[in-house]
């Protein structure tokens, strides 16, 4: 039996660029370059490793996003994923987390899956709740925030490093997994991989393909509304001194003046 792995990925604005809000208080995508969310590269990596160890497996990368989001799919395909699904629809503009999880869940069901792998969070919204929402919507176990993951037959195992404890987790497939940046370095696409990716299939689905009404998603269908967004005021320039041998003592004086000591 072939293991069907679906990796959810997100096309995000480059965090090293200046990110802004558009007039409708959604992300202004015109102003900044987009790319595959770095944290999703770890999900692709773990999917590929699990697929390599499995006796027959297929890795599908899935994204929901505008036209340019194909770039994120191409990157994942060039790393070694087998095929891609792009959910694209003008009515998706402004969709919130709850709506995104609905669209992803419907697309995952349509694609067919035994294992869903996500990054721990997107590097733009950084909420980190989509994997749990997918598990809730799909009605399968969540095995999330793993720093180690493996699949043994129809069981997925992993290590979750929480605030208070490290836990070893186990669940039966199908399941939703999310991995952290501690799960293992993501591979770089090889030249061969980049060339091969051009020939790999990318399917495009819209809302009607997923039997989702436009009212359920988009800015108007969002269950949360951003009412205002203000740029954080620039910090006033601080005092910067060169250490001439007394730097530590000077710093102690500063901390005392601020009543930290």
């Amino acid at each position: 039996m072939s293991l069907r792995i679906v990796v959810t990925v997100k096309y995000v604005p480059d965090a090293t660029g200046d990110r802004h809000f558009a007039d409708d208080l959604t992300l202004d995508r015109d102003d900044v370059d987009g790319l595959l969310s770095e944290l999703d590269e770890y999900a692709v990596e773990q999917a590929l490793q699990i697929a390599e160890d499995a006796d027959g497996a297929e890795v599908t990368v899935l994204t929901v996003g505008p036209e340019d989001a194909k770039d994120a799919l191409r990157k994942a395909l060039s790393m070694g994923a087998d095929k891609a699904v792009h959910v694209e629809d003008d009515d998706l503009h402004g969709t919130d987390i709850i709506g995104t999880s609905l669209v992803l869940a419907k697309a995952i069901e349509k694609a067919g899956y035994d294992l869903v792998i996500s990054g721990m969070a997107s590097t733009d919204g950084t909420a980190g709740v989509v994997p749990a929402l997918l598990a809730e919507r799909l009605g399968v176990p969540q095995v999330t925030l793993l720093s180690e993951v493996s699949v043994d037959g129809s069981t997925v195992k992993g290590r979750r490093d929480g605030d208070a404890a490290t836990e070893q987790l186990e669940a039966s497939l199908p399941a939703v997994v999310s991995v952290t940046d501690q799960s293992g370095e993501a591979r770089y696409p090889s030249f061969k991989g980049i060339m091969a990716a051009k020939k790999k299939p990318v399917q495009s689905w819209d809302l009607s393909d997923l039997e989702i009404d436009a009212e359920e998603v988009g800015l108007a269908g969002a269950w949360t509304a951003v009412e205002s967004a203000a740029e954080r005021p620039a910090r006033t320039a601080g005092t910067i001194v060169k250490d001439e041998g007394e730097g530590g003592k000077q710093l102690a004086e500063f901390l005392a003046s601020q009543k930290f000591i």
Binding site: W223, R235, A252, Q258, I261
Partner: protein
Amino acid sequence: MAEVLVYVDHVDGAVRKPTLELLTLARRIGDPVAVALGNGAADTASTLAEHGAVKVLTADAAEFADYLVVPKVDALQAAFGQVSPAAVLVPSSAEGKEIAARLAVRVGSGIVTDAIDLEAGDGGPVATQSVFAAAYTTKSRITRGTPVITVKPNSAPVEPAPAAGTVEELAVTFCEGATGTKVVARTPRESTGRPELTEAAIVVSGGRGVNGAENFAIIEALADSLGAAVGASRAAVDAGWYPHSNQVGQTGKSVSPQLYIASGISGAIQHRAGMQTSKTIVAVNKDAEAPIFDLVDYGIVGDLFQVVPQLTEAIKARKG
């Protein structure tokens, strides 16, 4: 007055500080009803009552410890059904956010995660968030269902406000999926005796410039002189010098202490995302061009191996 559900983060009955902060915020919206689950749940009642809980709903069952997240969602949903709250507040830990999100979709509500402030508004609570690596501050409202909001540590003062804190046992029916993810082993994190990173008033962090696991001892010594938590940049964690649980930044913890001291940290955007809402920022770095200096209130261009031990000694001397 409307009731507000507050999910309690506790360790064997000891309530963690972010929950007490939530009680302060909850009182701005209504009467806090606390939900405490698992081992020691009932022991939380007196602390919660001192901080404003009018009622404490408790439940204990092996499922809370033996299976991941879902049993807690089932319990919070049971409390939700019993109370019909005006809002649900949950601490913004990794687990807290997962619990809140699953509850939100179950009860048909919108969710805001990682709020840093909360106020009552005409159309329900208004949540403040810090987004895009703290470059923007947004205010959001939940437009559908009962607002479910997760709140970051250090977002509100802890204010005692004695209330009844009547303890009631919560009846929980676990759903079919509650036992889906088994916790087969759990190793509690060894206590360092230092404050919790996300809750600490002062954080002392080390980065690439610390140049080795053994050198973190000087960072720890400075932290101990100030009663601070120890943080590390991703570079230091990836190099294996300090545990990931102490990582400050986009893929680690986000901290917002009164004082943040960065040593040997250049200040890449991923690190800044996790610390630039700190009230006072201090940096020590050899490189005068390091971007961290754009953020500081006080910066020293110098060798951390000279500056940090001298600082530690000077602090100890002042404290006598």
